[in-house]
Symmetry: C2
Subunit: 372 residues, 2 copies
């Protein structure tokens, strides 16, 4: 059974679990997490941490069945913590995240045929199908939704099953067609080299949805590459280049008649554990480099190393989007591009929108509550 | 006059300006920034940097009147750079940003009467008034818009003069009123201690707009504090606490029936130059700390130091919003709160919305093009 020991000299309570493992809970942490500190409706913390001394210590603690009882001095509350809750929230261990999905890097082992695919009707009506598809999309970074009706709303209807949409300067949704006076390369018939959208934003958009309404012009095939795989392989093949791209922030910019959106980003952003979190890659939106000349030279060398890597066919997943299909991918992980098309031979018409990572993962957590 | 010298050993061109100062331009930077690399309509870069060797060097360069001419080998283009452009974009110097506004920290020297104020009608009709108010808001972090009509749309109409709105889980706009089944402390009649909104988001909302439709209940006064001033003073008074709060990321979380939004944030985020960029401060949304026990103790000590600092009256700006007024503030710099109110004595009704920093600053740059 669980055993509790007060350790006043370390200002913590030590719990010894039935399996013999031990965890220390700082006294102030216990006081801060007393259930009486939470608002009865909102569950938000309404406790004033300065209302107790920093060196507060329990009067006594008792293990009672499945709970720990803590008595506080000076008219303080009696706190009761479920032992399961204490174990799940023990300091030094990140809380379980039902929205977390392990990522699977791909390089050549993923083909258009093997991509996660889901049926639009199922996604619109079945929460289990929605959750399974969302997890697969998060794992691979890329999936295809099939069977969309010939309706410009159909793609965003699927996206809105997840969350509200992330608006940008291109609108809540955007049409990828060849336009007469384009403000963006996507709105031409030109080839688009691999890129991520909007690195000129402080928070580049998260999950991107590209619903294909028509694709019967010559050309216009899609290509994708996994930034996670590229980052991992660059770190091994050229650690110096990886170090430069994950530490030097460079200016990105988009401007047209109505806006001038600028932000500095590193090409590779790592999380606090040093693992790949994000790639920002857009030659279109790269502003003139403004670092010191030596840093510019080092950056060009590193940039070219990664650019050369991503031309190796093993990283490229080619596919042709058909009308009624939608590509869904994490814009901050998966690079996308297309071949040029000839607008005189037919139509190529996509409608796009975004849902940010935060709302996507939130939806996964809520679906997980219902067992999905 | 400007003098150009090729320095092949350093792979750069050295320009000596008329005032005698010198700047080095890496050869590859010059090739990369050739005007022929830009799309004629979108102005986006369409150059393939791998199409030239890393050690490319000009055949010759010539200073011609107000421009630098660079001839490239192997059938490359002739590049012409305006000398003014080269000076403005010289490596090692950040490009001028017409959206940048110097921040003015305040601590006691700013009163409700001295706050920047603007008339709603002027903002809706006059770009010069709009730009002046936006710059004042960015400098102080806080301003008041007056003379709004008694219309729930009026506040967001002003915000939309700047940009589209940032949607969150609380909607495109949100009503701050006392609700029967609140999912958030803002929707009670309780006092709200100083906080920033939504630190549980990867990108907490930028500029916040709180339009007051009614405020005739007892209580419900507003209070603001400048996170920039607090961060500066904490760095001086308690460098250890500042170091902890600017390096240790802690979990924030908001959850209700429909969402479960989580993110780790540092309380103080610094920019790449080590200057204050952002404060995330919300006891409501703080999730149980999950760091190692020693880090938790250090964090609590640091958190309490900053919490104690922000209770000093010199940091607090108290004001009472009246119907027809709107508080506008940078949610990532300025903390806001309110005293409790008694809903049985009258009504307190605010409507809020957000515009992110990126779109706000973009609008300033576009207004600056017209001389505002």
């Amino acid at each position: 059974m669980t055993h509790a020991e007060l350790r006043p000299e370390a200002r913590c309570l030590r719990l010894t679990w039935p399996d013999g493992s031990q965890n220390d809970f700082p006294f102030l942490w216990l006081r801060d997490n007393c259930a009486s500190n939470r608002h009865p409706f909102t569950e938000e913390r309404i406790f004033d941490l300065l209302s107790v001394p920093e060196d507060i210590a329990p009067v006594s603690t008792t293990v009672e069945a499945d709970a720990l009882r803590v008595d506080w001095p000076d008219g303080g509350p009696v706190s009761r913590f479920a032992l399961d809750w204490l174990h799940a929230n023990r300091p030094g261990k990140r809380a379980e995240d039902p929205g977390a999905v392990p990522r699977e890097a791909w390089r050549g082992n993923l083909t258009a045929e093997a991509l996660p695919r889901a049926d639009a009707t199922a996604l619109m009506t079945d929460d289990a199908a929605l959750a399974a598809w969302m997890r697969a999309t998060r794992a691979t970074g890329l999936s295809i939704v099939q069977g969309l009706p010939d309706d410009p709303q159909a793609g965003q209807d699927v996206a809105r099953r997840i969350s509200f949409l992330r608006e940008t300067n291109f609108g809540v949704t955007f049409e990828v067609i060849s336009k007469p006076d384009p403000n963006n390369s996507a709105y031409t018939a030109d080839a688009l080299p691999l890129h991520s959208d909007l690195p000129n934003q402080e928070l580049p958009p998260g999950i991107q949805f590209l619903h294909c309404l028509a694709n019967n012009a010559e050309g216009g095939d899609s290509v994708f590459a996994d930034g996670l795989a590229l980052a991992e392989d660059l770190a091994e093949a050229d650690p110096d280049a990886f170090a430069v791209l994950s530490t030097v922030a460079v200016p990105f910019r988009f401007h047209d008649r109505d806006c001038d959106l600028r932000h500095r980003q590193k090409v590779l952003t790592l999380d606090s554990d040093g693992r790949f979190s994000e790639i920002c890659w857009s030659n279109h939106l790269a502003a003139p480099l403004d670092m010191a000349p030596d840093t510019i030279r080092a950056y060009y060398r590193a940039w070219r190393a990664l650019a050369a890597l991503m031309r190796a066919p093993r990283y490229l997943l080619n596919l042709r989007l058909e009308a009624g299909e939608m590509a869904v991918f994490d814009n901050r992980r998966i690079l996308h591009g297309r071949s040029a098309f000839d607008p005189s031979t037919g139509q190529r018409h996509l409608i796009g929108c975004y849902v940010d990572r935060a709302e996507f993962d939130s939806r996964l957590r809520v679906l997980a509550r219902a067992g999905h």
